[in-house]
Amino acid sequence: MSTVTESTDPDSDRDAHTERDYSTARERVLSQVRQSPLAMIGASIAVFLLLLTVVTLVDRHLLNRTLITTLLHDPYATHPENRLQAPTLVHPFGTDEQGRDILVRVIYGAKTSVIVGVLSVTFASIVGVAIGSVSAYYGRIVDMAGMRLMDVLLSFPAILLAIALMATLGRGLENIILALGVVYVPTFARVTRSEMLSQKEQEYADAARVVGYPDRNIILKELLPNCLTPIIVQATFSIALAIIAEAALSFLGLGVSPPTPTWGMMLSKGKPYITDAWWYMLFPGLAIMVTVLGFNLLGDSLRDALDPQEQGEGRI
C-alpha cells in the first residue's frame, strides 16, 4: 500500500502523482473508481444485485421462501381475486394476471439475470482467454485455426446464434448459460489474442523463454497476468449484454422454464395486458435497464481508469 494516496495540499500534487505511479495498477484503479460518482453508482448496483441474488437463493432453497413471504409476499402464491391491481401501498408495483405481487417477483427475478450474466461470461472468458492466448503464443497454423473458428462464430448475429443454440439445447438455466457463453467466446478470444501478441514481444517474455520455462508457465504465470486489464473491462460490458440477451430469450419463450420468475418472461406474460396494466410492463423492464446500466457504468469507469485508449464494447 502506498502511504500517501490522497492529498488535499495543492503543492504536493506532483508528489501525489509520483506516488501514484509507484502504486500497483489495482490501487490506482480502485482510487480512480472511488473518486468517480458514476463508477460508485455502477458498483453499488452491481454489488446490491449480487447480494440480492445470494439472499434470494438462500431464501428460495434453504428457507423455502419464508424470508420474502414474511417481509413482503410469497412470489409464487396466486390470488385470482387480486388480479391486475394497480400499484398500492400493499403492492407497490401492482399485481399480475394471477394476483401475484410484482415487486417480489421482480426481486426474485434478479437472481436469474445475475446468475446467467455472471456465469455465461465466466464460461466465455475462460474458453475465450484459452483460445486467444494459445493462438497468440503459438501463432502460425494454431493462430489461423483458432481465429477462423472465432470468425465462424462471429458470422452469426449474437442473438440469432443464441436462439439457434437454445433451439438445439432446449429450455433451462444451464442451457442459457452455455448458449450465451458460446456466443461471447470470440470477443474474449480476440481481446486476449491482441493483448497477448504485444506482451509476447516484451523482453520479460524472451527472458522467460531463455531461462527455459515451460510454455504453459510462460502463458499462465508471466503473460496472462499482464493481459487481464482489457479482459476485465470486456467482462463487465459482456455481463450487461448477457443480461439483456437472457431477458430477450426469456421474452421469446426460450429462457428458463416457469414458474421461476424472470424479468423477460414477466414482460412476455404481461404483453397481452399492455393496455390495461401499465405497471406489469414498466417495473420488470426498469429492473433490467437499471441492472444493465449498473454494469455499463462500471465498465465505462473501469475502462477509463485502466485503459483510456480502448473502445471496444463487444457485439450488441
Binding site: P157, L160, W278, M281, I288
Partner: protein
C-alpha cells in the same frame, strides 16, 4: 501497383477469406440442427405414421446415411440456392425467406436510418462541445441507449405512443412498396426500438474517435497555419474520425438482423425473425437452418462490403497496414 489494383487485390483476398468462414458457418448451422432432439421423419409424418412409412421417408431423406454425406448433400443444394423444404408446409425454405425478407429489410433499413440520423450528428456535436451541458446530456442518453433492452423499449413505445397518441399502428407492418405513408408510419416505432442501441453505440464511438483525432498533431499544425476551425473539423478530423465508426456500424449490422427476431415478435411484423421463432416452436428444422445460414451469408457479405469501403477510404489498409 496502381491504386485500383491494390484495392482489387485487397477485395479479392477478403473474398477468399470468407470462403472457409462460410463453410464453417454452414457446417455449424447444419450440425446444430442435426443434434436437435426429434426425428425429422416423425415430425413430418406425425404420430400416426407407421414404422414402414417412417422407414421409407428416412430412406428418401437420406437420414440413414452418415452425417458427412447428409451435410455434403445439404451444402451442394445450398450452393445453388436450394435450402430444402419446410417440414410443416412443404414450402421451399428459400421461397419462404424471399417472401418474408422485405419486412425484415424494411425494419433493418429503418433502424439504420434512425441510428445514423441521430447518432452521427449528436456524436459530432458532443465532441465539438466536450464537457459542456449538451455533451453531458448526450453521453447520459447514449449510456441509457445501450442499457435499455430493445424489446422493452418497443413495448414502452406501444404503451405510450401507439395506445395513447394513436396515429401509428400498434401491430403489423405495411411495406413501403405498397403504401408509402402507411409503410413509414408502421416502421417508425419498431425502427426506433431496434435502432436505439445502435444510435447510442455510434454516438459513443464517434465522440471517442473524434476526440482522439482532435488531439493529434496535425490538427495543431493546421491551426498554426491559420486554417479555419470548421474547415479543420469538417475536412480533416471528420474524415479520419469516421473510419473506426464505419467499421463498428458494419459489424453491428448483424445486430439489426438478429435483433429483428425480437422486435418482430413485439410488433407482430411478419418478417424472417418471426418465421424463425415459429419454426423453433414447431421443430421445423430446415427453416431454422435456412434462415441461420442465410443471415450468416448476408452478414459476411456486408462485412466484406464495409471492409472494401474502409480500404477505399483509407489507403493504409489496402497497402498492407495491419487492421486491428
Amino acid at each position: 501497383m496502381s491504386d485500383s489494383n491494390d484495392l482489387l487485390f485487397y477485395v479479392g483476398k477478403r473474398f477468399l477469406w470468407a470462403v472457409p468462414v462460410l463453410l464453417g458457418a454452414s457446417f455449424l448451422s447444419y450440425i446444430l440442427i442435426h443434434l436437435a432432439p426429434g426425428d425429422p421423419a416423425q415430425i413430418i409424418l406425425g404420430r400416426r405414421a407407421t414404422q414402414e412409412q417412417l422407414a421409407q421417408l428416412r430412406q428418401e431423406m437420406a437420414l440413414n446415411k452418415p452425417v458427412y454425406v447428409q451435410y455434403w448433400r445439404y451444402l451442394s443444394d445450398a450452393a445453388v440456392g436450394d435450402l430444402g423444404r419446410s417440414y410443416r408446409s412443404q414450402q421451399k425454405v428459400a421461397t419462404m425467406i424471399a417472401q418474408r425478407l422485405p419486412y425484415t429489410l424494411q425494419l433493418a433499413v429503418g433502424s439504420l436510418i434512425v441510428a445514423l440520423g441521430i447518432g452521427l450528428p449528436t456524436g459530432i456535436y458532443a465532441s465539438l462541445n466536450r464537457n459542456e451541458f449538451g455533451d453531458h446530456v448526450s453521453r447520459i442518453v447514449a449510456l441509457l441507449g445501450i442499457s435499455i433492452p430493445n424489446f422493452w423499449l418497443g413495448l414502452m413505445l406501444i404503451l405510450l405512443i401507439a395506445v395513447h397518441v394513436g396515429v401509428v399502428p400498434i401491430y403489423g407492418m405495411t411495406l413501403v412498396t405498397e403504401n408509402v405513408l402507411a409503410g413509414f408510419l408502421s416502421t417508425l416505432l419498431p425502427a426506433v426500438a431496434l435502432g436505439t442501441a445502435l444510435t447510442a453505440l455510434i454516438m459513443r464511438m464517434l465522440r471517442g474517435s473524434l476526440l482522439d483525432e482532435i488531439n493529434k498533431g496535425y490538427v495543431q499544425t493546421a491551426n498554426a497555419y491559420g486554417i479555419a476551425e470548421h474547415e479543420i473539423m469538417y475536412v480533416y478530423v471528420l474524415k479520419n474520425g469516421l473510419l473506426p465508426t464505419i467499421t463498428v456500424i458494419g459489424l453491428q449490422l448483424g445486430y439489426l438482423l438478429g435483433g429483428s427476431v425480437v422486435i418482430e415478435t413485439v410488433f407482430g411484423i411478419p418478417g424472417i425473425g418471426q418465421m424463425t421463432l415459429d419454426a423453433i416452436f414447431k421443430q421445423d428444422f430446415p427453416v431454422i437452418q435456412g434462415v441461420v445460414l442465410f443471415v450468416a451469408t448476408v452478414f459476411v457479405a456486408v462485412n466484406i462490403l464495409v471492409d472494401t469501403l474502409y480500404a477505399f477510404l483509407d489507403p493504409r489498409i489496402r497497402l498492407g497496414g495491419e487492421s486491428t
